[in-house]
């Protein structure tokens, strides 16, 4: 009678014993590699703590950012007025820097220096003549 969950036959007992003996006889190298694989798998479970930490800290960081924004908007008006001239000045600087004509001049600097030298030569020629 083949075992269906009841008493194992002699053949089943013998084959099980032989198998267990072969498991006990595994080499140290195989055992060590299996242990390393197991540690890697267990580390996967332990690493699930990282997402939990993220879940905890991300809302806290969001709240902090919102609080900082609220403080900046709630600053007294006098503080903002004192701070205005500098942005205006810097806006003018930016307008100058972004003026396309000025940029063309920077790009054609060689041309303008050549014109300068030509003009100087003409002047000196006029003087000589």
């Amino acid at each position: 009678m083949v075992n269906d969950g009841n008493d194992p036959t002699g053949f089943e007992r013998r084959s099980k014993a032989v198998f267990e003996a072969s498991v006990d006889g595994l080499s140290g190298d195989i055992r060590s590699r299996l242990a390393r694989a197991r540690h890697r798998a267990v580390a996967e479970v332990r690493s699930t703590r990282a997402p939990m930490a993220r879940r905890f800290w991300m809302p806290a960081a969001g709240l902090g950012a919102a609080a900082l924004a609220a403080i900046l908007f709630a600053l007294p008006m006098s503080h903002r007025e004192r701070a205005l001239p500098a942005p205006v000045a810097s806006a003018e600087d930016m307008a100058m820097l972004l003026n396309s004509e000025d940029l063309d001049m920077i790009e054609n600097m060689d041309f303008y220096s050549w014109m300068d030298s030509e003009a100087a030569m003409e002047v000196s020629g006029d003087v000589r003549s």
Binding site: V2, K16, R38
Partner: protein
């Protein structure tokens, strides 16, 4: 704060339980995979992959569900490797010269009919070598049913869950496996 430390303890408990389960099952799992794949590296890869998948996807399940889940994952991995070998062997069959060399170099190519090598006989003894040789010749489902029921000690329901079939099929596969093996090993045992 208390809830946080409780969750941390729960993860550590889970990791501890998983460590204990895997330590108890890993060597037999390796022998299963080794019998089916006839190669140490392939068997180790299959077991390692099964461990990782259990940890990633099923560690949160109740501990009593782990044995059939682990063995189902392992059996799937073993089947994947066997299919890969079949495809590779079919591919090399188109290239006779290369295929011949490869078959000489790779003992898995004629695994079922091959007598286990000397290392196996020294390691597991002559009886296991004989058993392994005849197990390798069984149809895969009979081989799985025999190893899970007899070697791993899973009950019929757990074996059915691990194999993804009905309990009736498990009984049929197991019964045929035992009859075949007993018939072949009867004289030697």
């Amino acid at each position: 704060m208390q809830r946080r430390s409780g969750a941390k303890e729960s993860v550590l408990d889970q990791a501890h339980e998983l460590e204990r389960f895997l330590a108890g099952v890993e060597r037999r799992a390796f022998r299963f995979a080794r019998i089916a794949l006839r190669n140490d590296d392939d068997a180790l890869d299959a077991v390692q992959d099964a461990m990782l998948r259990l940890a990633r996807h099923y560690a949160g399940r109740p501990v009593e569900q782990w044995p059939p889940l682990f063995h189902r994952i392992l059996q799937n991995r073993i089947r994947d490797v066997q299919r890969r070998h079949q495809v590779r062997n079919r591919f090399f069959a188109w290239l006779p010269a290369v295929g011949d060399d490869d078959e000489r170099a790779d003992p898995r190519a004629s695994a079922a009919a091959e007598i286990p090598d000397a290392v196996d006989q020294l390691m597991a003894g002559e009886a296991m070598a004989l058993l392994e040789q005849h197990l390798a010749q069984l149809p895969p489902r009979q081989q799985q049913a025999f190893m899970l029921r007899n070697f791993e000690g899973l009950d019929v329901a757990q074996t059915a869950s691990a194999m993804g079939c009905s309990e009736g099929s498990v009984k049929t596969h197991y019964s045929r496996a035992v009859h075949t093996l007993r018939g072949k090993l009867g004289d030697a045992w």
